[in-house]
Structures are given as C-alpha cells and as structure tokens.
C-alpha cells in the first residue's frame, strides 16, 4: 500500500514544471486504482478458489439450510426449542443466550469493577492493597484459563445432587448447577407488576424533573429515596395488601435429582463468573484512572464550599470522572460481549457454540456460517458503541 501526501508547495511546483506523472493528484489516483485492482483481484481469487473447493467437496452454498430441521437439542434456551425445529431457530437460541450472558455479565462486572476501583483508592491501606492484588492477579491470567478453572475445577468438582450444598433462600448447589426457587405469579400479580413498572417510570420522571430543577434553581431533591419508595416501597405495600400473589416453587430432591424450581446450569454460571470477574479487574483500573484524573482542586473546592465528603464525591468528583471513564468502559463492555464467545470451550450454548459449532459441523457451510457470526458481533459492537457515544455526548463537558 503505497501512500503519498500532497503538500501545497510541491503541488504548485509540480503543476508548473514536473511531468504529468509526478503530480501528487495524479499519483494519488494511480495508487488508489492499483489498490482497488489488487483488492478486486484478491477477492476474485478467493471467491473463485472457494467456489472450486466447495464444488469439489460437494458442499452446497447459499442460505437454504436455515429452514432445514436442526435435529439437535440445546441444553439451555430462552425460547422454546427442540430438535425438530430449524437451524434458523437454533441461531436465534444461540444469539439470545449470548445476549443473556453478556447483559448479565456487563451489569455484574460494572458493579464489581466500580467497587474494586474505588477500593483501590481507599484511604484504608489494607483494603487498597487487597484490591490491588485482585486486579494484578486476575487481569494477568488468561480468561480462558479462568473459565476452565471455574467450570472444571470448581463447579464440576461439586458434590452430586444427594450431597448438595444449601444456598440461602431454599436453593441448592451441586454438580448439575444452581437450583433456585422459581417465582410463580398467581392471580392478582398483574396489579403488583403494574405498580412496579409505573414506579420505575415515575422514578425516571422524578429524576429528569429534579435534574432540571437543580440546573435552574440549584435546589436538590432527594431523588434516591423517592426512587426507592417508588420502585420498592409502593409495590411492596401493594404486594402485601393484595395478599402476596406470588408463590415460590422450591426445588426438591426426588430420586437422584432435583425437581421444580429453576436451575442455572454450571456452564452458564462458570461463564458468567469468569467474564464478570475478569472484566471487573479492567473496569476497576478504568474507574481508578478516572477518579484520579479529576484534578485535586475540584475536590478541595467542593469541601471548601461546605459539601460533605459524600456530597463532594457524588456531586463533583464522580460526574467529572464519568467523562473519563465512559469511553474505555464502552470498549470493556464490547470486550466482554466478544469474550462471551469463549463459551464454546466450556459448552455453554451461545451463538458461537450453537451456530459456528454444531450447525457448521452439521452443514459444512463454513463460509456462510462464519460470515453470519462475524456480522452479528459487528452489529452488536456497532450498536453498543453508537449507544455509548450518545450517552457520552450527554455526559461530555458542555463548553462555551
């Protein structure tokens, strides 16, 4: 890839004296034409070879296989799936599983990462040291190794169902996964659900109103307590008043296994644990750098005008730190989503495992399957970064 720059002085000299071929504009066109021709030749060669190879190996091409019957089962799916359904449906199952583990992982990693990042800056020497050790150990060990550790060495080494470990809230942990009580809505629960949803909506409205009032008048409003009352308090009262219309089904040991309740499979648990713990160590570093990036004067000024320690952190330091934190945080979220593809190594049925694993092996249509996988991840990346860019613009400093 040869490249040439034009600078004004040379261009003028070239226009008057040098030959046609020495003009930067002409050269640019020539270089780019060569690049395009090379790329086209490369693509032509690739497509030609691929077509020839596929013909030779008798592999079909095109997306007709999507409608064919899959013939395999998936151990965990958010939508109904069985072996008589199509490959297309299997794709959807894998995609939803990827999004599920990535979404939960992002939430868990963010919370853990913020806690550890703030702990690293703690004035308590011991806490800061422990947080540093956590970060230095976790981020210098490959994620795949950590996933194997959680899956093969921890979760698969748990006792069989009969000697299950009890978990608070009527749950059980054994080699087959984590069994938890499943909530079963009873008639009348719609009202509670409705209060909860409207509570969330009201809390958002209060937040927006309080912000606007604060920018206009400088007066603060206790948003946190109001939101808590709206989201937790009122629905809880309604729930109790309407006679607790939510039953729990507890898992029970019957024969060799547990019946009832809901189960989180070890593959899912291992992936979620590994992804959150690993990504949290990176987020912790980002948070620490962000808070340290806010100049000391800001905090001192906040304390000088009489804000308490907590207020100065919440109202002065954190909002400014967020501006530094958000862009790298976005790329950590994307990394976590991309890393969720390591599920294939421990057998969690995510997109890569179901689609680029089982479906690819059954159909042999490598080109289509892998291109689709890549496009899905690209789309997730682009959507996430678009959203985070929008969020970042809102948080960014509004300069005069």
């Amino acid at each position: 890839m040869a490249v040439v720059t034009s600078d004004r002085g040379r261009r003028q000299a070239a226009a008057t004296q040098a030959s046609f071929l020495y003009r930067p504009e002409v050269r640019q066109v020539i270089y780019q034409a060569i690049l395009v021709i090379l790329l086209l030749a490369l693509f032509y060669m690739l497509i030609h070879n691929t077509a020839a190879n596929l013909r030779k190996q008798n592999i079909a091409s095109g997306f007709a296989f999507v409608d064919r019957t899959a013939g395999f089962d998936v151990s965990q799916s958010l939508i109904a799936f069985n072996s008589s359904m199509t490959y297309g449906r299997a794709f959807l199952v894998g995609l939803l599983n990827t999004l599920l583990v990535a979404g939960l992982g992002i939430v868990a990693a963010t919370i853990l990462g913020f806690v550890i990042g703030i702990a690293r800056l703690s004035s308590n020497w011991l806490i800061a040291r422990l947080a540093t050790i956590y970060v230095e150990v976790i981020r210098n060990v490959p994620l795949l190794l950590q996933l194997f550790f959680w899956y093969f060495a921890v979760l698969k080494a748990l006792p069989p169902p009969r000697q299950s470990l009890s978990v608070i809230g009527g749950g059980f942990l054994n080699v087959r996964g984590l069994y938890l009580a499943a909530p079963i809505p009873e008639p009348g629960f719609e009202v509670v659900a409705f209060t909860l949803l409207s509570g969330i909506a009201a809390a958002i409205a209060v937040y927006v109103w309080a912000r606007r009032r604060q920018t206009l008048t400088g007066q603060q409003f206790p948003v946190l307590w109001t939101s808590l009352a709206l989201i937790v308090g009122i629905p809880l009262v309604v729930h109790l008043l309407s006679g607790s219309p939510l039953a729990f089904e507890y898992p029970e040991l019957k024969g060799f296994n547990f019946q009832g309740g809901m189960v989180l499979q070890p593959e899912f648990l291992a992936l979620l644990l590994g992804l959150s713990i690993y990504t949290a160590s990176f987020i912790a570093e980002i948070v620490r750098a962000g808070i340290q990036g806010v100049s000391k004067g800001q905090k001192e000024a906040a304390l000088a005008i009489g804000l308490t320690q907590g207020q100065s952190l919440r109202l002065v330091v954190i909002p400014q730190a967020m501006r530094i934190i958000i862009p790298p945080l976005t790329s950590q979220f994307l990394n976590l989503t991309k890393n969720s593809s390591l599920a294939v190594a421990i057998g969690y049925p995510d997109l890569v495992s179901v689609w680029s694993g089982t479906v690819l092996n059954q159909t042999g249509q490598a080109v289509e399957v892998i291109l689709v996988t890549m496009c899905v991840f690209l789309a997730i990346s682009l959507i996430t970064s678009a959203f985070m860019n929008w969020f970042n613009r809102r948080m960014a400093l509004v300069e005069r």
């Binding site: 890839m1 040869a2 490249v3 040439v4 720059t5 034009s6 600078d7 002085g9 040379r10 640019q28 270089y31 780019q32 690049l35 690739l46 070879n49 691929t50 020839a52 190879n53 596929l54 030779k56 703690s122 004035s123 308590n124 020497w125 011991l126 806490i127 422990l130 230095e136 150990v137 981020r139 210098n140 060990v141 490959p142 994620l143 795949l144 190794l145 950590q146 194997f148 550790f149 093969f152 060495a153 921890v154 698969k156 080494a157 991309k338 890393n339 390591l342 294939v344 190594a345 890569v352 680029s356 690819l360 490598a366 080109v367 892998i370 996988t373 890549m374 991840f377 690209l378 682009l382």
Partner: protein, 371 residues
C-alpha cells in the same frame, strides 16, 4: 492559656501518637469507625484466602507419588507430583525428547538478545535489534523446524506447551507489525479509498471476537486457497493471530502518529524528503517510541489470547494442561485444579513481568519529556 513568649521554643519530638507504627495504623487502618470495620473485614478476607491457599498448596498437598491415587484421599490439597511428572510436556508438548535441547537453545538465544535490548543502559542497541529481529528468527526457525544441517525435521503437529504459546505470541506480534504500521498510515492517509479500506479492515477485525477469526483461519482459509495447496495448522493459526493483532496494533500506532506535532511532518516535507523517507526516518521512529507501552500492552493481551488456539485444536500451555487433566492415570479430584493453578502461575509470571516492564519504560519516556 499562658503564653511563655520569653522562653526559647525547645525543639521537641512530635507527639508520640503522630509517628511510628501505631500512628501509621491509626491513620491508615483505623481513622474512623467505618474504616475500622473495613479493616476487620479486610483482615478476615485476607486470612481466609491466605490460609486456604497455604492449606491447599502446602499443608494438605501431596508432593511425591507415581500416579493420581496418592491424591485421592479425603480433603487432599494440590497434587504436585502431577506437575513434576508432566512438566516436560507442559514445556515442550510432544517435541521429541532427544531434540528438546534445540528448544532450550532457542530460549537461551532469545534471552541473550532480549535482556541487553531491554536494559536501557547497555549500548549497541542497533546491532542488538538487528540480531533480535533479523538473525534470531532465522536461527530459531532452523533450530525448531529442522530438516537442514543434519537436524531432524520436527513436524509442528508435535509442538506444544509453553513453546507453542511463545511461538504464537511472538510470531503473531512480529508478523502483525508491518501490516499494523501500513494500516495506521493508511488510516491517516489523505487518499479516500486507502483510508476507507484501512478503517474497514481495522473496525471489522476489532469488532469480532478472536475466536471467529481463528475459526475463519482454520476452516475458511483452506477453502480460499487453490485446490491442492494446504497449510500447516500452526501456520493457519499464526495468520489468524497476526491479522487480528495487526488491527489492534494499528490503533496503537495511530495514537503515536497523532501525537507527533505537525511541525515534524512539515519540516520533513521542507527538506524535500519523499513520503517513504519522511515516515521511515522522521515520523515513525518518534511515533513508535511513544507507543512502546501500548505495544507491550497489546502483546500482553495477545499472549493471554494465545490460549484460544486450543479451541481450534492446537496444544498451547493451557491446551496441554487441559489434555493432561483428562489423563486417567492421574485421575484425582484435585488434578484439574493443580493443573490450572500451575498454568495460571506461568501465564501470570509472563504477563505481570511484561506489564511491570512497560510501566518502567513509560516512566523513562515520561522522564524525557519532563523538562
């Protein structure tokens, strides 16, 4: 309060409770009630972790034995004889035993080149770099692959363990360098097509997981080649890793290019240097020096990511540990844990060492800018 102004102030020692270990504990551990509570919590946590580690790794661990049966007793800790028995495999894979001196020699030659290169005080960096980046790779290739000078040919299918991890990581980063530089320059080019192609490649590769790139290299690459041409499995993985690393490296180098002041470009133009000379002699040396920490960080990431090659059927350090964990001769409840702890420790030593080195370089570079 009586002010004794006429008495010369004696220099007194600071109050006993503001210096010394007790004062240190008071300010750093017990400055408030909540802080004291955190300290107690932290102590408990540290004690739990440290005691269970010591218990698992030393007190209840097994140190000698010929197979897994010695580690199967109730409450057994680490199964260290597993590591001693398999150590050679973890290091060399199935590399034929009489030929392993060649791998050791390559490590020695690498260290002989890298150590002087990494210590800033030692002179002769130019020839040192020539050795590390030109002469050493040739020697290493000849030694590892063999087939010439009477050396036995060793098929890459027999390579494994730490050897594969190191080969994939170093060849991956070295192979990605030229492409990474070209992509970084292309992304800053004024020619629209060149820029779009570079941006397209960089963003595409950065947007997909490494595992799909590796799948592509292992499954799709054979389809792309003319019928009859086949590639070694390791080479396919290397191509995938190098393409992947190139996109990340390009972004790091672009950061360096952006940090070079305009005046440098203009001065080079004013001297009448061609584009190649301007970049090769003026801009890139400065830009690359600026981003050494970034390059090391990319390398650390790549080093950890090499463990993914086990998914496409190569046996790197983690792959070979995983393989041996399933060895029925060494079956015991703690074999897997011991294997992972060992592999994790090896990876950790490398990554932690490199990150410390990059921090050192960063401080040195920053010192040059502090006037």
């Amino acid at each position: 309060m009586v002010a004794d102004t006429d008495v010369a102030a004696k220099v007194e020692a600071p109050p006993r409770n503001s210096v010394g270990p007790i004062a240190w504990i008071r300010t750093n551990l017990l400055s408030s009630w909540s802080n004291a509570l955190l300290t107690v919590l932290g102590l408990y946590l540290a004690y739990e972790v440290a005691s269970s580690l010591v218990h698992w790794g030393l007190i209840s661990a097994t140190f000698t034995g010929a197979d897994g049966s010695v580690c199967t007793r109730e409450g057994a800790g680490a199964c260290w004889p597993f590591i001693t028995a398999k150590f050679a495999q973890f290091m060399y894979g199935r590399y034929p035993e009489p030929e392993r001196w060649r791998v050791d020699l390559v490590y020695l030659l690498a260290l002989a080149g890298l150590i002087p290169l990494m210590i800033p005080r030692i002179p002769g960096k130019f020839w040192n770099a020539i050795y590390v980046f030109v002469i050493f790779p040739i020697i290493a290739y000849v030694l590892l692959v063999g087939g010439v000078f009477g050396l036995l040919h060793v098929d890459t299918a027999l390579w494994g363990g730490l050897l594969v991890t190191l080969v994939v990581a170093t060849v991956g980063i070295a192979g990605s360098f030229p492409l990474g530089i070209l992509l970084a320059l292309g992304r800053r080019s004024k020619m629209p097509i060149v820029r779009w192609v570079s941006v397209g490649f960089i963003e595409f590769v950065r947007g997909v997981p490494l595992i799909t790139v590796l799948f592509m290299a292992s499954v799709m690459l054979p389809l792309f080649l003319p019928p009859g041409v086949t590639f070694d499995k390791l080479l396919r993985a290397l191509i995938g890793v190098a393409l992947f690393a190139a996109a990340y490296l390009a972004e790091v180098i672009r950061g360096g290019l952006q940090a070079i002041p305009r005046g440098q470009f203009e001065a080079a133009d004013a001297l009448g240097l061609s584009y190649g000379k301007k970049m090769g002699l003026i801009i890139l040396p400065q830009a690359l020096k600026l981003v050494i920490p970034g390059i090391v960080n990319t390398f650390i990431g790549l080093f950890k990511d090499t463990s993914l090659v086990l998914i496409i059927g190569l046996f790197d350090l983690l792959g070979i540990v995983q393989l041996n964990n399933a060895d029925s001769k060494w079956f015991s409840p703690t074999t897997a844990m011991t294997g992972y702890v060992f592999a994790g420790f090896v990876f950790w030593i490398f990554c932690f060492g490199m990150s410390r080195y990059s921090q050192m370089v960063e401080r040195r570079l920053a010192a040059g800018d502090r006037r």
